[in-house]
Symmetry: C2
Subunit: 73 residues, 2 copies
Amino acid sequence: MNIKEKFGLKVKSLREEKGISIEHLANISNVDRNYISDIEKGKRNVSIEIMEKIIIALDFDLTTFFNDKIFKK
Amino acid sequence: MNIKEKFGLKVKSLREEKGISIEHLANISNVDRNYISDIEKGKRNVSIEIMEKIIIALDFDLTTFFNDKIFKK
């Protein structure tokens, strides 16, 4: 799995845990819903600014978001 | 401080801790040295792929890199 896929998988998993739709996440993060959909599929080489917007919208910070075995060596 | 500046500061701080030059980091990460210089100044909205390349070149993983109070809420 590459880093784009890992990031997408984590976003999707946290979004589903929170029980919110892609559309809702799009609204609260101010990121286009098609873009979020592509991110979750691992298709987007997301920038650090977009990354932060999404992570904050999910009520996380970067430290907690990346504290997951999929991001470890 | 915005996220681009926080990321740049952390890269610079780890690079200096390791005692390596921007040029050396550029070589081992395969990222252009001017680009790394701009990143350290907080001027670049770096992509997740470039981010990962630099973090790996610094001998870190994303979990450890982002485990810093500057990335916490």
